[in-house]
Subunit: 343 residues, 2 copies
């Protein structure tokens, strides 16, 4: 059993409990902190989008098609489907002579509620561009175009099916994951992600190592090291693109810039790189709750950065309000995590 990482209080009493595991590792693979079972394979989901975007830069596709910071950040994003996100993905596809019909991520309504309501009020429908993964998929399409040495209609046949594990693009993405984590993902448990690409279950220790490597360049090929740095810089320069209005990742990276790269994944996963410390972080809330994953990530960041930053504390001790806006409780780090802060 993994330890409780986050508790939800109602009044003064603990109402709910989130168990989980946490690995903090340096680029040599030395374990800085381990809470719970950090060897058990975990589907990292969208928390590894930075790793999945390494081929976009390392292949030369980003340079060939002139991707700017916003487009590179969007390639690492789980965005909220806001107009800027949609326009950025659409603009990139247009430069490739393609449109949203090239995307195989599926259609998803924007998670940003006012945006969704505005669309409904105007009678608009969601498209694959609104899918939180549309930037990552646009990046895959870039790689496919470069590989096919074509764009537009001439590239379409090669692009098609890029979400399948055996497609040349996805093989490159899987190879980047294997190289960064040091685990042959072809031998790992495999599932299908929300956006239809393969997701591989990997130990938190290996995921944390990958992010320590991405933060430092150490242990990566020159191409991947340069790509990781370029992507981190792009996200720090355009943090709105990686999430959106009021989103944890966006707000935290707006405040901390290149000092803290962090990325949420579905089902309670977080990965992070803290380059100045040479550390990578990977955590999984056993039950998959995002509220707890954000709170835990915020607590870890406070502990490692030795900060009492209000923004981070607002997430680690998130106030819970009811329908009348009354404060009815809060999240808080449980003992195992709270002790990390005092270490």
């Amino acid at each position: 059993m993994n330890p409780i990482l986050i508790e939800a209080l109602r009044g003064d009493a603990v109402e709910s409990r989130h168990a989980g595991a946490l690995a903090i590792v340096d680029a040599s693979g030395a374990v800085h902190t381990a809470l719970g079972d950090i060897e058990r394979p975990v589907f990292p989901r969208s928390a590894v989008k930075l790793l999945q975007a390494l081929p976009l830069v390392a292949s030369g596709a980003a340079e060939a098609y002139g991707l700017n910071d916003a487009e590179l950040a969007l390639a690492c994003a789980s965005h909220s489907g806001e107009p800027e996100h949609v326009a950025t993905a659409a603009g990139l596809l247009a430069r490739l002579g393609l449109d949203e019909s090239a995307l195989e991520c599926g259609t998803q309504w924007p998670s940003r509620e006012p945006v969704l309501r505005g669309m409904v009020a105007r009678g608009e429908l969601a498209t694959p561009l609104h899918n939180n993964c549309s930037g990552k998929h646009s990046g895959f399409v870039c790689v496919a175009c470069l590989m096919s040495r074509n764009t537009g209609a001439e590239a379409a046949e090669f692009v098609r099916g890029y979400v399948r594990a055996e497609h040349t693009v996805m093989r490159e993405v899987s190879a980047a994951l294997s190289a960064a984590t040091g685990v042959d993902v072809e031998k790992a448990p495999r599932g299908t992600d929300g956006c239809s690409i393969p997701t591989f279950a990997l130990p938190l220790r290996a995921l944390a190592l990958a992010f320590a490597r991405c933060g430092t360049g150490q242990g990566l090929s020159d191409g991947h090291a340069r790509a990781a740095r370029r992507l981190r810089q792009a996200v720090a320069a355009a943090p709105f693109m990686v999430g959106g209005t009021d989103r944890f990742d966006t707000r935290v990276m707006q405040a901390w810039g290149e000092r803290l790269f962090c990325k949420v994944g579905a089902e309670g996963v977080y990965c992070a790189a803290l380059p100045e410390l040479g550390l990578g972080v990977a955590l999984k809330i056993d039950d998959g709750a995002v509220r707890a994953a954000e709170a835990a990530m915020a607590a870890v960041a406070q502990a490692l950065l030795h900060t009492e930053d209000e923004l981070l504390r607002g997430y680690s001790h998130l106030a819970l309000r009811n329908w009348r806006g009354l404060d009815v409780g809060a999240l808080r780090p449980a003992r195992a995590l709270a002790e990390l802060s005092r270490a």
Copy 2:
């Protein structure tokens, strides 16, 4: 630590795990099944709305104001804010000479997505009538009117503040909770519920006992026993009112009628009564996940009713689909719960 009750699979691998506790108790208080810690206090939230509605019937208010099945079922409901729910609550308040301004539950948009989108498209705003608790609160207002021997503007001053623990109405509701569970709720940990009334943390054992009593009448005062039977009958006759389109409680009670009363509560709670078996059920998913609470409730119902009912199995083994509608995984009962079915 409580045992894992529900696992979420992605492909063939377990992606997430929901621990929890389960009590099944008969009306004498004998424990039929205990998984995990059934003595630890749990905020039952909306899972005890039936108990909170006992005074509505036992006081004579339901009879005095001529509440029909739909209105009584709505008093036990966490409804989805669909037009029928809103109209039923509004109609009841109108008979009291009052309107939505009497409700102190706060404003909530309908949880039923197409209803919400229709309102947005028409430029409508949510009101307290759309709050999932508007029926329960309308019931409280009925009790207040009866107590004040007034309706309309003359009752308004007495009605006001009915959500406070010290209000005469809420004292009656708390007394009903104490009587049914056998626990003095005034001494229990207290929090504020989503709809602003007090919620008391009680052992699952005591909550299961209360529902065994409500299913059989045994151990309740005559008034409460009659009220419990009337409310169960009303919900069985008008199950749409207790939840709504595609909601677990509605679908299950449409199928099983008076054989199975069940009610969800926020943060992963379920309570149920199985009158023919003389059993009450209470369960809490530690992390608060509703998906797991529904799956666990469905598994318990299948085990106790010795059924392979497709509807219940559809929840205990809920298929998980991604944005393209592909099957990417499923929920399943973990060993502790699966063994219950084989017992």
